[in-house]
Each structure stands twice: as structure tokens, then as C-alpha cells.
Assembly symmetry: C2
Homo-oligomer: 138 residues x 2
């Protein structure tokens, strides 16, 4: 996913390419950790100083609709966003520095089937998130 590609996808969905959007897109796309709207605002203004916070909210909303970013839920808050993972992936977060990694290969089928039998529920989705310390922080 390159910078151009995010802007292209916006364009393909009837959006116009503007300086404000470029600044937001470049900021969020390059971040190794999840950013809140205000953090995006502060960082993106270094690229385009006339940027308004409202446009940050509006752009994040569009990027989330297109599944280019995703919301990250954490004990401290659930307002931050990160570049979306690809396919079936889950998040691994460093509790120290906030660095985000994606992983895949989790197999929850045995677990969910056993729980379906025990509870009578039909399981459709799961949320899985790991927390720990990254190589630098541990």
C-alpha cells in the first residue's frame, strides 16, 4: 500500500485529492503506532499548516469506510487509528512504546467449536489482540 494507492482509492470512490487529505494520509500511513485524531492533526500540520481538525475527522472516517485504516481498542482509550491489516490478521501492541505489529495464523476453530457446543451460540466473528513488549522495549 503506497501513498499514491490510498489517494487513488479515495479518488476512485468519488473523492478529490486535496492538500489537506494528502497531509492526513501521509501522516497516518507512515505511522508505526496508532494515532488519535488530535495526534494526526498535530503531525499533519507539519506538512500542511492550514489543516483543520474537522478535516482530520472527516478524512479518518473516509479511510475507515474504505478499510484502509482501522480503530485500535486499548485499555486507555479506543480513539486511535492505524493502517489496516491485510486479510485475516490481528494486532500485537507494545505496552511501552505503542508500536503495532500484525500477525496471522491463529486457529481458533477448535476453541469456537467447543464453545458452540457448550453454549448453544453460533459464533460468527472474533476479536483477538495481544499486548507485550517489543524487541526494543523488553
Amino acid at each position: 500500500m503506497t501513498d499514491t494507492s490510498w489517494l487513488n482509492q479515495l479518488q476512485d470512490n468519488g473523492c478529490r485529492v486535496t492538500s489537506a487529505r494528502r497531509a492526513v494520509v501521509e501522516t497516518v500511513q507512515g505511522s508505526p503506532r496508532a494515532l488519535t485524531p488530535v495526534e494526526v492533526f498535530d503531525l499533519a500540520r507539519q506538512r500542511y499548516s492550514a489543516l483543520g481538525l474537522v478535516t482530520v475527522y472527516r478524512t479518518l472516517e473516509k479511510l475507515e469506510e474504505l478499510h484502509l485504516i482501522q480503530r485500535v481498542h486499548q485499555p486507555h482509550g479506543c480513539q486511535a487509528f492505524i493502517s489496516a491489516g491485510h486479510g485475516h490478521q490481528h494486532l500485537l501492541l507494545c505496552k511501552q512504546c505503542g508500536q503495532v505489529e500484525f500477525f496471522d495464523g491463529d486457529d481458533l476453530k477448535p476453541l469456537t467449536e467447543s464453545i458452540e457446543q457448550r453454549t448453544g451460540y453460533q459464533i460468527q466473528e472474533h476479536w483477538l489482540q495481544l499486548f507485550g513488549l517489543c524487541e526494543k522495549c523488553k
Copy 2:
């Protein structure tokens, strides 16, 4: 966990037993689904009509401190609370009616060890949540 026990635990931690707290405790404790502060407010006022929303927030805060309730994160929002699970348990939520069940017996050790090797992270915690349809709703 009976009603008395929650109020006793509050009392043991230096809190007084009041009508307002009784109403909030009885409401949250008896709920099969997660409730937001405003939902607690509306339901608890049927028991004690003079209740204030501020007291709901304050009581929920205390109950969470004592680990008697826990916050439930969902796609639509992360403000709701439910009676806490016991020991190492995770949530199973009905997407239709919101009914909450707890389950245990998940074994993520093989997965986390493999991810520790792949990523160099030291994994400390995990969040797991299942979504689906309960017996009645499916």
C-alpha cells in the same frame, strides 16, 4: 456473587450503603447484557427515582475498581459495563440481542510462543472476544 456481596464489598472498602448505590448495583448485577451509564440510569431510576446520572458514573467507577464489573468493547462503542467474569474468562456476545456469556478454556500458548519467535515481542496479555448469535436469536 449476590447483591448483598457487592454492597458488602463496597462497605468493606470504606463506602456507605445508600439507596442510590443499591439501585445501581441491583440494576447492573441483574443484567444479562452490557449497559451504558445512561441505560443504567434509566433502569435504576425505576428503583430509586431521585437518582442522579453523576452517581451512576461514580458508582460504576467504584465497581470497576473493585473488579465487580468490567467494560465491554464493541464495534458500536466501548462505554458499556457487565458483571465481571471470574478468573481467566473471555466474553461471548450475541450480535442480535446483546446477551453476554463468559467462557474459559482458551489455550493461546502455542500461538503466542510462535508469535514471540516470529516477532521478537514478549507477550504479556491478550484480549479475546467472540461474537455470534445466542440460542434464541439464531
